[in-house]
């Protein structure tokens, strides 16, 4: 049985079911609150949920039982000397060292926990970066949404921040530098592109089996880096659009990536009323349409950056994505066929397999 954590505008839904079949709602938590993101640390079994009340602000909650009591990780807060407050918690992910987790927030900050997510500390290297006064938010805010660790090496990290590009560290986050070469921000005038840091990265996926390879869904562009995020190659040829939000991959196949194209930045819905996932197995040289079982008529869905998750590998890899229409779709055969997992949830903000 697979357990899915679906964050929505109206709480967290924990779904349970078999791959390739409809799921049932096992638990709903945080009713009335936006759950921006939810995940489970497989090392400890601890669940995390980014919960934002429209009135009472954002907070990170954790539990060992999503149907039971949740605790507030109250140290995930910006220190007084920053003069800033957390707007949203966008992502929580596991680090490579024992007990280490990372959290990415708006306004563009990284937090680190060394005790399995109970207490948190602001990463000062990124917060105090001298270019910070020039950082500009994207439409979703100044959000640190992607944290790509390097399997087996806790010192190497890559971050995606909208709209401040890719950030790389080789010293565990003590220092940071850009990794933006050859990204083309077509949303800017040509004469303003050279050297800009106003780069709207939508999502990063590092290939665990070949860690120097990172795939990126950009704000108009799909890219691949083969040098740990230093330089980027456009791999969008063959896609019906290069606009979208999430990107995932098969962990055992470093040539694999999956995207869900949408029309464009000014029309963020699936193209021609058809919902299609696109898959590459040759590192972006070619793309295959994967829409069998997905709505192919009058379906104008928006799939947000955290709303595409996976588990497993190879031909039985499970893929799940949710839309702001409240639907969640799943595949138990690496995208070859799809079913509706849940039809009528609230607008989906995130999907992760527990």
């Amino acid at each position: 049985m697979t357990e899915l954590l679906v964050g929505t505008r109206k709480g967290l839904f924990v779904l349970e079911g078999e791959p390739g079949s409809p799921f049932e709602v096992a638990t709903r938590a945080f009713p009335g609150n936006v759950v921006e993101f939810a995940t489970r640390d497989p090392r400890t079994g601890r669940y995390f949920a980014s919960v934002t009340s429209g009135f009472y602000g954002p907070r990170l909650m954790y539990t060992n039982d999503p149907a039971g009591e949740w605790e507030h990780a109250s140290t995930l807060a910006l220190p007084e000397d920053t003069g800033a407050s957390i707007e949203r918690i966008w992502v929580v992910g596991t680090g490579e060292a024992d007990g280490v987790l990372y959290a990415g927030i708006d306004p563009a900050a990284l937090f680190e926990s060394r005790d399995g997510g109970l207490t948190w500390e602001l990463n000062r290297g990124l917060w105090d970066h001298p270019t910070r006064p020039k950082w500009q938010p994207g439409a979703g805010g100044l959000c640190l949404h992607s944290i790509a660790t390097w399997p087996g090496d806790p010192l190497k990290l890559a971050l995606g921040i909208s709209a401040v590009g890719v950030w790389l560290s080789e010293d565990g986050g003590a220092t940071w530098r850009h990794g933006n070469q050859d990204l083309v921000p077509r949303y800017m005038p040509e004469e303003a592109r050279e050297g800009t840091i106003d780069l709207c990265v939508h999502n990063l996926h590092r290939a665990p089996a070949l860690p120097e390879r990172i795939f990126m869904q950009f704000h108009g562009g799909v890219y691949r880096s083969d040098d740990s995020g230093e330089t980027w190659n456009d791999i969008a040829v063959g896609l019906p659009s290069d606009f979208g939000f999430p990107i995932v991959g098969d962990p055992t196949d470093p040539d694999s990536a999956y995207v869900i194209p949408m029309v464009a930045d000014l029309d963020r819905v699936t193209i021609d009323g058809r919902v299609r996932v696109y898959e590459t197995r040759d590192a972006g040289e070619s793309w295959k349409e994967r829409g069998d079982g997905l709505p192919q008529q009058d379906a104008y869905l928006t799939i947000l950056r955290q709303a595409f998750g996976s588990t497993g590998e190879g031909e039985t890899m499970e893929l799940y994505f949710g839309a702001t229409s409240g639907q969640v779709f799943g595949s138990g055969d690496a995208g070859a066929s799809w079913v509706s997992v849940a039809d009528r949830l609230a607008p989906v903000t995130s999907v992760r397999v527990a």
Partner: protein, 86 residues
Amino acid sequence: MAVVRLRAPLKDLAGGNSELRLPGASVGEVLRALEGEHPRTMGWVLDEQGRIRRHVGVFVNGERTREDAPLTPDDVVHVLPAITGG
């Protein structure tokens, strides 16, 4: 000590108390005292910088106010979600 009146969900986070007497010479101090006495309310009304959250309404004797407003022991402080969103 000022009287602080709470509604759900703050009431639940404050141990089920809908009315508390809390020390403090300003609204901010009283709200910090609320967090000290009931840590589960931490971060709900005041943000990290001690500012009342944008969509929370704090009223003193019926007048909407800010965190630096002075308080007297006879004042009544209401904390409620703001009417936002239409």
